[in-house]
């Protein structure tokens, strides 16, 4: 399909649908704002599914449209340009589904993909534990087979949107006494069962979009493990590999929006005349353009086997975003002290506070630098 026509199709659909009851969702949701309108955003997911936009990147045989990379990019750009809300279904659509397609059985694919594709089943992620953060392989949550089912005992933490999800994928230790990356198993678990308790974790803003998830003999049927028992680490890492797909450019379009909000605020407050803030605003814009160039380079994939631009991408965007948050507050000045109902101010305050999590979750800055040093630069452990 011609890209221009495709962009027109996306933009046209969004212009028709993202209004009326959904109008209030524009530029809402996403990390730092997940508590905004969760029910309505689930309805929006079903609307998206009806439009054929959920799983559009999946192969056609799995219910997708098999969109090539450049159209995926075009879709994300148009979506964010139109103010499309943060996606409730993205963990299922962009992380679990590609993993199922690559590593799941045909039966698992038939069982789970349609619910995701329809915008009706929502997923969350059970990786980190209180004692296994940066050291993810230190997982102590246990699992074992018990007749027709697998059971899980332990605790996961930092689970975004668990309270709004139907399923969780979990990595747990199936070989008693095993250590590190060995002896782990990757399970798909329904959340609505007596053996699972979800507790919100209050974050520094006072909101709670992360959760602790407690498993007390919770069960799932034996067909719900991906890969073989003991292969969980490999599956878990394959899933994380899908994080650097075309949706990174969608994330960047959110950043473009935030950047514009900062620029508008600077013009409004007079911060635009402060030499230091001018320079920081220019640096933020420069950094954002560089993120885009870097993402395109990553997607072009012609930088050899080491692919430094991929290994550094999470570090680069999270620190850029954190700096933007600090800049935003400095642009607001003392007015930033007060919780605001103004959409622009609220957004900037969210960026300031929530971006502090960006450099921590999904591999802290420190872990990212270790990874770069060891994998990209081959420095000794």
């Amino acid at each position: 399909m011609n890209e221009t026509a495709f962009r027109a199709e996306v933009a046209g659909w969004l212009a028709r649908e993202l209004k009326g009851e959904f109008a209030c969702l524009r530029h809402r949701g996403g990390p730092g704002d997940e508590e905004a309108f969760p029910t309505l955003r689930k309805a929006w997911e079903r609307k998206m599914a009806e439009g054929g936009w959920v799983g559009a990147a999946w192969p056609q045989e799995h219910g997708g449209r098999g969109l090539p990379l450049e159209l995926q990019l075009a879709f994300h750009e148009e979506y964010v340009r139109a103010g499309g809300p943060g996606r409730m279904g993205h963990i299922g659509e962009t992380l679990l589904a590609p993993t199922l397609i690559e590593l799941g059985t045909p039966e698992q694919q038939r069982r789970f993909l349609p619910g995701i594709r329809a915008g009706r089943e929502f997923w969350c992620q059970g990786y980190s534990e209180p004692g296994a953060g940066s050291d993810l392989a230190a997982i102590t949550t246990r699992c074992w087979q018990d007749g027709d089912v697998w059971r899980v005992q332990g605790q996961k933490v930092w689970t975004s949107l668990a309270h709004e999800s139907d399923w969780i994928f979990v990595i747990a230790r199936s070989t008693p006494g095993s250590v590190g990356r060995e002896g782990l198993t990757f399970l798909l678990m329904p959340l609505d069962q007596p053996g699972i308790e979800i507790q919100p974790i209050r974050q520094m803003t006072g909101e709670a979009e992360f959760n602790a998830v407690f498993f007390d003999g919770a069960s799932t049927d034996a067909g719900c493990i991906i890969g073989k028992p003991g292969e969980g680490w490999r599956v878990a890492m394959a899933l994380l590999g899908f994080e650097r797909g075309a949706s990174t450019l969608g994330q960047q379009m959110h950043f473009v929006h935030e950047m514009q909000v900062v620029v508008d605020a600077a013009i409004a407050t007079g911060a635009a005349f402060d030499p230091t803030l001018r320079e920081r605003i220019a640096d933020a814009w420069i950094g954002l353009r560089a993120l885009r160039h870097n993402a395109l380079r990553m997607l072009a994939g012609n930088s050899g086997s080491v692919r430094p631009e991929s290994l550094m991408y999470k570090y680069a965007w999270s620190n850029w975003h954190r700096d933007l948050g600090q800049l935003a507050m400095d642009v607001l000045g003392t007015a930033g002290d007060v919780r605001s109902e103004d959409d622009a101010v609220r957004r900037l305050q969210q960026v300031f506070f929530f971006s502090r999590a960006d450099t921590i979750y999904a591999g802290t800055n420190e872990i990212q630098l270790n990874i770069i040093a060891e994998r990209a630069l081959a420095m000794p452990r």
Binding site: G133, W158, R202, P275, D330, T334, G336, R356, A357, E366
Partner: protein, 371 residues
């Protein structure tokens, strides 16, 4: 030459007492209705009197003693009217106020019976052009109108000293919080340890004695007030930065990942060392500047010296608070752990009494333009 950085026995004792008291009575995590009780204890200790002259019921100490107290209060994130009433209002009265006003207000402020706040241009800077409140002659007295959208006041201040535009310039006025026409509403602030109110003044009638500035002292006195208050804010920030480092050390020594305490990783060690370097540099600056300000007459020279403490302490606190959040990992981002309290207060403090950029530009002007 006596080394001005040498603390006396009395100063060291004051510091120790404050540290012990505040460790016990820290209220950042306690309900707001505890605040009044803490304030009474602080008043009993005589802290509101430190910088007030003896003949007005004070202890007649200097900027060094005040800075030692502020540092300890900053370390414990104390929520109290101390900053507004002592560091702002008292300082303004001491340096811009007339003798009558000093005699009328300082004894009760020194005793801690009542507290006050200060209203200047937004952000508490001395910028006449930005003063939004007007005060017109009205019979023998005055009538005042205007808005101060963000005032450092937890709602308990009995009065404000307000810099207002008059028909022929500016003046500093005493306004009682319960005067007719004064409307005060608490703000929903991020930093819960530093409450703010909006003050709206609608045709507030003031008696003839409400104008408190001494003739000819307003501009210099308020500029000096801002400098001295910025220095004390810097002292408070040093205490906050120290708390950030301490809690980060405690957490990383305890937290085990990859089979060893996080504090044993060299990258973490270097980051904590960098926190210490910035913190201790700022502390040296605050101590050194505090030891010299009481004899620094020239306003511009005072501002340059204060800039050293202000810039370094504000930046050190932001840096240390940010690092505390980061080095706590996931929990650093939660409500339950303390890094977020410092993170918010560090941001708060970076925007009031002039940003670091504003103070740097004062130094640049002195070095480059007036040379």
């Amino acid at each position: 030459m006596q080394n001005a950085l040498l603390l006396s026995e009395e100063q060291l004792a004051l510091q120790d007492t404050a540290a012990a008291f505040l460790a016990e009575f820290a209220n950042a995590r306690k309900p707001r209705d505890e605040d009044a009780r803490l304030w009474r204890r602080i008043a009993e200790l005589g802290w509101p009197a430190v910088q007030v002259p003896e003949n007005l019921g004070g202890l007649d100490m200097g900027a060094v003693e005040l800075a030692l107290l502020m540092e300890e209060m900053g370390r414990r994130l104390i929520r109290s009217p101390y900053f507004a009433s002592v560091v702002l209002a008292q300082t303004a009265l001491l340096h811009a106020g007339g003798a009558v006003a000093q005699e009328r207000f300082l004894p009760e402020l020194a005793s801690g019976e009542v507290t006050a706040t200060l209203i200047l241009a937004p952000g508490l800077v001395w910028a006449p052009d930005a003063i939004r409140i007007e005060c017109r002659r009205h019979g023998d007295g005055w009538v005042m109108s205007g808005e101060a959208p963000q005032v450092l006041d937890d709602g308990s201040a009995a009065m404000a000293f307000v810099a207002a535009r008059t028909e022929d310039g500016f003046g500093l006025f005493h306004v009682s919080a319960n005067a007719p026409g004064v409307e005060r509403s608490p703000l929903d602030v991020w930093d819960l340890t530093r409450p703010q109110c909006a003050w709206r003044l609608r045709n507030v009638r003031l008696d003839p004695g409400a104008r408190v500035d001494a003739p000819g002292k307003l501009e210099v006195g308020l500029a000096r007030t801002v400098s001295l208050a910025a220095l004390q804010l810097a002292a408070e920030q040093v205490g906050g930065a120290a708390a950030c480092l301490d809690m980060t050390l405690a957490y990383t020594k305890e937290r085990v990942q990859f089979g060893r305490p996080v504090a044993s990783f060299q990258a973490v060690k270097h980051r904590c060392a960098e926190m210490m370097v910035r913190l201790e540099t700022a502390r040296s600056a605050v101590r050194g500047v505090a030891a010299s300000v009481d004899c620094q007459e020239d306003a511009q020279a005072l501002a340059c010296e204060v800039a050293v403490a202000r810039v370094l302490a504000s930046d050190a606190y932001r840096y240390c608070a940010q690092e505390a959040v980061q080095l706590h990992g996931g929990v650093g981002f939660t409500w339950e752990y303390d890094p977020q309290l410092h993170f918010k207060r560090a941001q708060w403090g970076s925007q009031w009494l002039g940003t670091a950029s504003v103070w740097r530009e004062r130094v640049a002007t002195q070095l480059l333009d007036l040379a």
